[in-house]
């Protein structure tokens, strides 16, 4: 066997492995019957339509979008400002601050969620979408900070200095010099945050009460009765996210 054939075979096997669960999920979301196991009993769109008309799932979807975009916007703001703060001046505690700001990246979401839960309990703060969003900012701000820090280099600093010498105020420097220069990084950070928040389960599960996000709603769907809608909602979420991702990829390519 040639080297090329070996490589091609390896790729084929791994892609099959990677796509197997998704393919099964999508296939059985069209299963005409209640049991998502072979044999395939026929094609139906019934479950997809049921998902789309399921009010609780749709509310959860909206909640997920609110939390994902809202928390990501705040996470990006915090991360970007902090990255600039550390880049513009030599601070005495810079290393400690950097370490503290990125520390949440290496802590399990479960632990972050439990810590917040315990603290909110002690403080007597009720759980809501707001507390979920707080949790998501905690996990995503370090990510945005890291990405922005990596993107701010000597070129940005020189340009900023030049702008300042020309009399630009701090806000104007940030708005018209730094941000445009590292725009791809800002977009990447924002979209990654949205993705992570959108799919995050355990923090949302621990810190929500009546209003829940989509992963939490899917979890209770999974736990509350054998239901083919689980397959359908899974396929739909996959379709939406994968399309958004591919659109992003294509547009990034074309430019």
């Amino acid at each position: 066997m040639t080297r090329f054939a070996i490589s091609a075979a390896y790729m084929a096997v791994l892609y099959a492995f990677i796509f197997l669960p998704v393919a099964v999920l999508v296939l059985f979301s069209f299963q005409d019957g209640r049991f998502p196991i072979p044999p395939f009993q026929g094609f139906t769109l019934k479950w997809h339509l049921e998902v789309l008309s399921d009010e609780e799932l749709m509310v959860a979807l909206r909640n997920s979008l609110l939390v994902a975009f809202g928390s990501s916007a705040l996470a990006l703001a915090l991360g970007f400002l902090a990255a600039r703060g550390l880049a513009t001046s030599e601070l005495p505690l810079a290393r400690t601050i950097r370490a503290a700001l990125t520390a949440p990246l290496s802590v399990s979401y479960l632990v972050i969620g439990l810590g917040l839960l315990a603290s909110l309990n002690l403080a007597g703060v009720g759980l809501s979408l707001w507390t979920v969003a707080i949790g998501h900012v905690v996990i995503n701000a370090p990510l945005c900070f890291a990405i922005c820090t990596a993107a701010i280099g000597p070129a940005q600093q020189q340009a900023e200095r030049a702008a300042r010498d020309l009399g630009a105020g701090e806000w104007a420097v940030m708005r018209f010099v730094t941000a445009p220069m590292i725009m791809p990084a800002l977009v990447a950070a924002f979209l990654l945050s949205v993705t992570f928040s959108w799919d995050e389960f355990i923090i949302a599960f621990l810190l929500s009460r009546f209003d829940v996000t989509l992963p939490v709603e899917i979890w209770s769907l999974l736990r509350s009765g054998l239901n083919p809608k689980t397959n359908a909602v899974g396929s739909l979420v996959f379709l939406i996210s994968a399309l958004a991702f591919l659109a992003f990829e294509l547009s990034a390519r074309r430019r």
């Binding site: 490589s7 390896y10 790729m11 791994l14 892609y15 492995f17 990677i18 197997l20 669960p21 998704v22 099964v24 999920l25 196991i37 072979p38 044999p39 703001a77 400002l81 902090a82 703060g85 513009t88 001046s89 601070l91 601050i97 503290a100 700001l101 520390a103 949440p104 290496s106 802590v107 399990s108 979401y109 479960l110 632990v111 972050i112 439990l114 810590g115 917040l116 315990a118 603290s119 002690l122 900012v137 905690v138 701000a141 900070f145 701090e170 993705t195 799919d199 389960f201 355990i202 899917i218 979890w219 999974l222 397959n231 899974g234 979420v237 996959f238 996210s241 991702f245 591919l246 990829e249």
Partner: protein, 283 residues
């Protein structure tokens, strides 16, 4: 004069840092401190009693079931991390080195598309694949092979995790492979190194930081995950996060939950210290 500019710059830098630092302090460091304190309190019938003692940790380390859960988690996580590296490295390599350049991005994107299914649904989908009369066994039977009985087992948990982390590690390893200087290999060859020697002595050490970062990320995410063992384990194996959620959901024993979380954190920190050695190579 110059000193005043520096002062002003510093003040400005602090102002920019303040929101993130405050946020981290209030919503990350403080909760962590509270949890550490709470792990030293006790749950009683009337709520949480704030007397300081190590009793939760003593219960925890004196209970074989808890220790077993810890070792289950460690074992699963280590196997998953290793297996994922072994699967992902060749794939990343093939994409970076052998796929023609114009298809490279597409190949990489395809390798991570299932990333965008809901995390919970992905685990659930594996349970459909692995079920005794599920897709995999039906297919195996169809081609005359013996069926696999791995649903509801540790093997199922490992497989579900490995699927996710193979995708993740393919990305991180690919990233470090593409950062290698292109003429490095030619230089090694000029010096008389064969392909294997080049890989062993040049490429592997240079990509080690990328592997280490990915491995640590996998380790930290895997050991703290509740969903995959809960869905795929079928109650036949108890992982540390499941134990934590049992304590929280059935017993509402927050102090014990806090103690278990601290132990989980300690394990992740240890793993970080081990891996940090490899990560430093690149700096």
């Amino acid at each position: 004069m110059s000193l005043r500019i520096e002062d002003r710059e510093r003040r400005r830098a602090w102002a920019l840092l303040a929101p993130a630092v405050l946020w981290t302090a209030v919503f990350f460091l403080l909760p962590f401190a509270i949890m550490a304190a709470m792990s030293l309190w006790q749950k009683t019938d009337d709520g949480i009693e704030r007397t300081w003692s190590l009793v939760n940790y003593m219960t925890l380390f004196g209970n074989p079931t808890y220790i077993e859960a810890l070792f289950n988690s460690l074992e699963i996580t280590l196997i998953v991390t290793l297996l994922s590296i072994l699967l992902a490295y060749p794939l990343a390599w093939i994409i970076a080195e052998e796929v023609p350049e114009r298809y490279r991005r597409l190949a990489l994107v395809l390798a991570v598309v299932p990333f965008w299914t809901s995390y919970i649904v992905r685990s659930y989908a594996w349970s459909l694949v692995l079920a005794k009369q599920g897709v995999l066994n039906t297919a195996l039977e169809g081609i005359g092979l013996p069926t696999l009985d791995i649903s509801n087992s540790r093997a199922a948990i490992v497989l579900g995790f490995t699927h996710f982390f193979t995708m993740l590690l393919t990305l991180t390893i690919y990233a470090s492979l593409t950062q290698l200087p292109p003429n490095l290999r030619r230089a090694a060859a000029d010096l008389g190194a064969g392909p294997w020697a080049t890989f062993r002595h040049v490429i592997l050490p240079l990509t080690a930081p990328g592997i280490a970062v990915g491995a640590f990320l996998s380790f930290a995410l895997c050991i703290g995950d509740y969903v995959t063992p809960q869905i795929l384990g079928g109650g036949n194996d108890l992982a540390l996060p499941q134990l934590i959620m049992l304590q929280l959901g059935r017993r509402a024993d927050l102090p014990m939950v806090a103690a278990l979380s601290i132990v989980l954190m300690a394990v992740v920190t240890l793993a970080y210290l081990v891996v940090a050695r490899f990560m430093k190579v690149a700096r």
